[in-house]
């Protein structure tokens, strides 16, 4: 018990306190000026925009994938089921490296996509692709247990009452999946905002164009502009804590929902 607390405070609390202390040394006006430079605003817009699109893509494909894995039997199902966690296990640097290579003009996918005008490497689209990869397991893994525990009887009842399959899905299945999908979406979104490793390789890191907020922090640090880096970091931290709160609420909501069903 004592050991837990000591270790926790040494590793987590002291660094946090250090960062906060340094922030309080800044005046509010300074903080605001540093955190809202044009370059920073462009970086936030890109970070949050790309994360949002990636999380939406994950919500869509993740739901589809979870559904297919839970409901259908097809060759290779178990392999895919265990491969879903692959983006968690793969170091982000490797993910960024291989995705950048795949979508580059001479890569396996880029060869066909670039002539069509779809440039995956060194563009905002590339960032979305990398973030989708990194966040993919979240929706699938939060949704799978819910789908497996869903009671088939309710669907059968809907069918006997004359509902078509689509109607059953829309008014019976979808509402019970919604909390889990939203939780997965929020988790993927939170992860995407902080993501750094995979983006560095695929984005090209051009200021105002493909520069994400975490990368800007690193740039500031390399210029030894500590206060600038700290101001940006605080903005990101506040956002991740807000999201953490939302995720907790969503989880409570979905567990209550589960019990009611």
């Amino acid at each position: 018990m004592g050991f837990t607390l000591c270790y926790l405070s040494a590793i987590v609390l002291i660094p946090f306190a250090g960062l906060l202390l340094r922030t309080f040394q800044l005046s509010w006006a300074d903080f605001w000026r540093l955190a809202t430079t044009d370059r920073a605003m462009a970086a936030y817009r890109l970070t949050f925009g790309a994360s949002l699109i990636a999380a939406l893509a994950n919500a869509l494909f993740g739901t589809l994938l979870a559904w297919v894995l839970a409901r259908y039997e097809f060759p290779g199902r178990r392999i895919i089921d265990s491969m879903v966690d692959f983006p968690f296990a793969l170091p982000t640097a490797v993910a960024g490296l291989t995705l950048a290579n795949l979508f580059a003009a001479n890569g396996w996918l880029g060869k066909y996509l670039v002539p069509l005008g779809i440039k995956g490497a060194f563009t905002p689209l590339g960032i979305v692709i990398a973030l989708t990869f990194v966040g993919m397991p979240f929706v699938v893994r939060t949704l799978q247990p819910v789908l497996q525990n869903l009671e088939r009887e309710v669907e059968e009842a809907a069918a006997t009452l004359g509902a078509g399959r689509l109607r059953t899905f829309v008014s019976i299945i979808a509402p019970s999946l919604l909390p889990a999908v939203l939780t997965g979406f929020a988790l993927a979104f939170a992860r995407a905002i902080g993501e750094y490793g995979s983006i560095v390789f695929i984005s090209g890191n051009l200021p105002f164009k493909t520069e994400i907020a975490p990368y800007l922090i690193v740039m500031r640090l390399e210029e030894y502009d500590y206060t600038g880096a700290i101001a940006l970091a605080i903005v990101l931290l506040v956002f991740s804590f807000l999201l953490l709160g939302v995720i907790n609420l969503l989880e409570q909501w979905s567990s209550r929902f589960q019990r009611k069903v």
């Binding site: 837990t4 987590v12 250090g18 494909f61 265990s82 640097a93 396996w108 970091a233």
Partner: protein, 298 residues
């Protein structure tokens, strides 16, 4: 799962009329879309790593792994993981023990704090340590006067790695320990075992698999961490470059095959992690089945 594909058409029609299955067309479209998505986003990137690594043949692959700087990166990664994983295993055991077996005030706060590193961007995590120990940081002057280097040196890398990987073991263990309950420990204590014996012979075996999986996850993340380590390492080639940082450096030097060669080792590690996890899940499922069969027997 209700029903398989190969039944006679009449049965399938009947089942479809029952209304809990989609029409085959919808079903196979969904499966195709899902499989395509998996192919593009899972399989292709993985295969690409190995294909690019071996693009210039085995000899080049081998020589890019054994060149001194890459070799130094591999060694450093092993050292860092070797220090931070045992530390986090100790902490994970202690924290999970405290959370699962005792009731105390502020327990939910403790759980939130354990999860904290998950929700912090790795870059921000690295920044925290720079703020503490960097030259302009709180302890910077003192450390500099005593010639202790933490930032841009191995201790900083270890600290950052410990921070980002520290929830893994605890998170895997807490549910397992909670499920195991504390009756067995109480029984051991009444039979005269001391605290340590109880822990070693009763608690530890019951959480063995959760612990192993936690260690493996923690290790995979420790070896692959990029953002936090990039901030504190200082990128000194041959000295403070871990494997992921080495990958980036080689890539920026336009030596893609060598970058992929180092990356392929990390990808192998990821595959190994997944393999162990899958094995454990199958094991669990088998044990569950066996338990159900014994329960069903009169």
């Amino acid at each position: 799962m209700a029903g398989t594909v190969n039944r006679n058409p009449g049965a399938r029609l009947k089942r479809y009329q029952r209304g809990t299955e989609e029409p085959p067309v919808v079903k196979w479209t969904l499966i195709t879309v899902a499989l395509t998505f998996c192919f593009v986003f899972l399989l292709l990137p993985l295969v690409n790593v190995f294909a690019q690594a071996l693009a210039k043949g085995w000899a080049y692959y081998w020589s890019s792994l054994t060149q001194p700087d890459s070799w130094a990166a591999i060694r450093l990664t092993l050292i860092v993981a070797g220090i931070s994983v045992p530390l986090n295993v100790l902490f994970g055991l202690a924290a999970a023990w405290a959370v699962a077996k005792f009731e105390f005030r502020g327990k939910s706060l403790l759980i939130t704090l354990i999860d904290l590193p998950f929700s912090v961007s790795p870059v921000v995590a690295g920044l925290m340590f720079v703020v503490l120990f960097g030259l302009q940081g709180f302890f910077g002057k003192w450390l500099d006067a005593h010639e202790i280097k933490i930032i841009f040196a191995v201790p900083g890398i270890v600290l950052a790695t410990v921070f980002v990987t520290f929830p893994f073991v605890a998170r895997e263990l807490i549910p397992v320990m909670q499920a195991a309950g504390s009756e067995q420990e109480q029984a051991a204590l009444t039979l005269g075992a001391n605290g340590w014996q109880t822990f070693w012979h009763v608690t530890l075996p019951s959480v063995k698999w959760g612990l192993i999986y936690g260690i493996i996850l923690c290790n995979a993340r420790a070896m692959g961490e990029f953002g936090a380590v990039a901030v504190v390492s200082g990128h000194i080639t041959g000295q403070t470059d871990t494997m992921p940082l080495r990958v980036e450096k080689l890539y920026n030097e336009y030596d893609a095959p060598a970058a992929f060669a180092v990356a392929s080792l990390l990808a192998l590690l990821a595959l190994l992690t997944l393999g162990v996890r899958t094995l454990m899940e199958w094991r669990e499922a088998r044990e569950f089945e066996r338990a159900q069969m014994t329960a069903a027997q009169p």
